[in-house]
C-alpha cells in the first residue's frame, strides 16, 4: 500500500495548530511510517502539489485566499480544517462583529483601501471540508486520532455535547461557583475541559454544539449578573461567525 501524501497549509492564523502537530515529536515520526508529508512549510523545505490529504489552518479573510483554497481543494482528496480559525473563523471573526469599514479605518487610517480584507470566514464557507479539528489550538492527540481514523478507514467522531460533560469528568469546580462565567454549556466538547482544568474558563474555542441552547445560556448569564453587552462579548469571542443567542 502506498502511503497517503499529506500537505499542510495556512491562512490567517497564528500557526499554533501546526505547532501542536510539530510538538507531537516522536509520535509525529511514528506517524510518518504511515504517511508521507509532501508539504509542511513550517518545518520542511520541500513542497509538492501532489497530495491526498490537505490540512488547512487559518481563516479566509480576503479574496486572494479563495483561489488558493480552491486550488487546494482540487488537488486534495480529503480536506481537513484545523483549529478554530479554520473551523469557525475563530478569534479572527471578532472583527466581523463591528462594521468592517470602521475596523479597517481604525487600523489602517486613510490607507485602508490598500489592504485587502473582508469578514473572516471559516474554510467551509469557501470550499467543502471533509473533517474539522476543533480548538484553539487543536489537540495533538485528536490530530492523531483523525489520522488513525483516515488510515484505517473509520469515521472520525467529534463529540456533539457541551464542554460541561467533560468538565464534570475532570472533577472541576464549576467556574460559575467560583464567581466567574463561561460558555462551556453551549461549546462543543472534546477538549477535556482543559482550560477550566487549568484554572481558566471555557472560552468557546471549539465552537457551538450542533444544537446549542443559546437562549437558556443567555438567561443563565443574565442571572449571574452579566450585562447584555457582556453576554454578547462572551458569545462573540469565538462564536461571532456562528452567531449568538436571539
Amino acid at each position: 500500500m502506498t502511503k497517503p501524501k499529506v500537505a499542510f497549509f495556512d491562512f490567517a492564523s497564528c500557526e499554533g495548530d501546526q505547532l501542536q502537530i510539530a510538538n507531537l515529536e516522536e509520535k509525529l515520526l511514528e506517524l510518518l511510517e504511515h504517511v508521507e508529508v509532501v508539504s509542511f512549510r513550517e518545518v520542511m523545505k520541500e513542497h509538492s502539489d501532489d497530495y491526498d490529504i490537505a490540512f488547512i489552518e487559518g481563516s479566509c479573510t480576503r479574496e486572494a485566499d479563495e483561489a488558493r483554497l480552491k486550488k487546494i481543494r482540487s488537488n486534495a482528496k480529503i480536506v481537513v480544517a484545523i483549529g478554530a480559525c479554520a473551523t469557525i473563523a475563530g478569534i479572527n471573526a471578532l472583527k466581523n462583529t463591528r462594521p468592517l469599514d470602521q475596523v479597517r479605518k481604525e487600523v489602517y487610517g486613510d490607507n485602508a483601501k490598500w489592504y485587502e480584507t473582508y469578514a473572516a470566514r471559516p474554510i467551509d464557507a469557501v470550499i467543502t471540508v471533509d473533517f474539522k479539528l476543533h480548538g484553539c489550538p487543536i489537540r495533538g492527540d485528536e490530530f492523531l486520532a483523525l489520522c488513525k481514523a483516515l488510515l484505517t478507514g473509520q469515521k472520525f467522531v467529534v463529540p456533539d455535547y457541551p464542554v460541561c460533560a467533560e468538565c464534570k469528568l475532570a472533577e472541576n469546580v464549576c467556574v460559575f461557583e467560583k464567581g466567574m462565567t463561561c460558555v462551556g454549556p453551549v461549546t462543543r466538547a472534546g477538549c477535556g475541559a482543559c482550560c477550566v482544568t487549568q484554572g481558566a474558563v471555557c472560552w468557546g474555542c471549539r465552537g457551538l454544539v450542533d444544537d446549542p441552547n443559546k437562549n437558556a445560556h443567555k438567561e443563565v448569564l443574565d442571572k449571574y449578573g452579566l450585562k447584555a453587552e457582556e453576554v454578547m462579548n462572551k458569545f462573540n469571542l469565538y462564536f461571532a461567525y456562528q452567531g449568538g443567542p436571539k
Binding site: L19, E42, R62, K95, C136, C194
Partner: protein, 433 residues
Amino acid sequence: MSGANLNIDLHYITRVEGHGNIVVNAKDGKVDKVEWQVPEAPRFFEAMVIGQKWDVVHHITSRICGICSIGHTLASLKATEAAMGIKISEQTLDLRRLAVHAENLQSHVLHIGYLALPDLMGVGSVIPLASSHPEEVKTVVRLHRLANEMSDLICGRTTHPQRLIPGGFAKLPTEEELENLKKRLLTAEPDVMAVAKLVKALSPKLPAFTRETEYVGLTCDSEYALYDGDLASTDGGREPVSKYLSWTNEYCVPQSTAKYTKRKRGSLMVGALARFNLNHAKLTKKAQALAKDLGLVAPCYNPYMNTVAQLVEVAHGFEDAVSIIDSILKKGIKDETPNVKPKAGKGSAAVEVPRGILIHDYTYDGNGVCTKANCIIPTNQNHSNIQLDMEALVPRIIAKPQKEVELALEMLVRAYDPCISCSTHYLKVEFKK
C-alpha cells in the same frame, strides 16, 4: 561569469513561522532588486481587542502568534497591570520568569534543531535526519519536550497558555511538581552540550557574513534581562519601556503587510544575538564558557550567529530556571488568588521573547474595557535589518550559483527566526513609496 543573472522568487519561504518571500533580480552581475516581502494576511488584532474587557485581552492577543503565545500573554498581562497599577507578588514574578525561560527554551530548541540544523546538514527538513541521525534528533526531541512540559506546568499549555492571568496565576504548580521539574531540568545539560558539539562541528557552514548594525534589547542590572528591564542599545542609551515609541519608529513598505522598524540608523536587530551583544556578561558562567567555545564573541555582527546565540541562551535558560525553582521552593508555594479591581489607565510593557523585545500598550476605561491597543512585534523590528542584510549580502555572493545564493538568503532569513504571523498583527502607519 556564471550566475551573473539571478532571478530568485522564493515564494513562502519554508521553516519559518508565517509567510515571507524573497525576491532578487540581477542582470549581468548588477543587482536590480533585492526584496524581503511579507504577504501574510493582516489580522486586525488592534481592532479585535477594542471593546473587550481586561480579563480577555491577553487571551485574544495570545492568538497573535502560536509559537510566542506565552510571550504575548506575558507582555499583555504586564501592560494591563501597568495600566491599572496592579502589583504582582514575588511568587508571581518568579513563576513568570520561569514562564519566559520555558517559552524561550522551547522556541530556541525548535529553531536550532528543527529549522536551522537541516540547512547545515544539507537536507530539507528534520524528517530525513530522524533516520540518518537518530541520536541527534532524539536529543533535540528530548530537550524540546522538556521545554514544552515546563511550559505546560508553569503556564498550563505551551500554545496559548491558560494559567497566566492578570495579577497572577489561575492555577499554581505544586512544590512536588516543581521539585520534579527541577530534577528533569538538571538532566538537560548533557543534551545541551551534545547539541552544542554538533553545532560547533557544523559551524564552518555558517556564512562568514558581517554587517555592523544596531542591537536593541532589554537590559537590567540584576540579571540577563528577559522578563523585565529597560530599553538599551549597543549604540548607547537606556530608557524605560514607556518611551518605546521613540525606539521603535514603525513604518510601512509596499511589499509587506507587516511593519518595519528603525531607530536612528536604517535598521536595528533584536533577538538572541542582540541580547547577547548587550548583556553577555550577565549570562551564567557555563553559558559564557559555551559562547566562547562556539566562537561567539561580543560584539558579533554576523546575523547567522543568532542561532548560536540562541543555543547559548538555552544553556543559560536551563541553568537559571533551576536557580529560580530553588528560590521558589525555599520560600514555599503560597496560595494566592489574584484580586483585580479594574480601573482606567494606560500602560505599556515589554518582555524579551525568543525573537526579541515584544511590547504591548493598552488603554482602558473605568470599566476595564480596552479602548486602544498597540503591539510592537520583534520580527517587525527585524524586517528592515533583514532587507539591509540582503542588500549587503547579495552583491558579495552574486557570482555563486543561483541555488547557493538562494540557500544563503533563506538561511539568513531563518537565522532571524522570524515570526511572521506575529508581525502582521496590524498595520497602521502610512504607506511609503
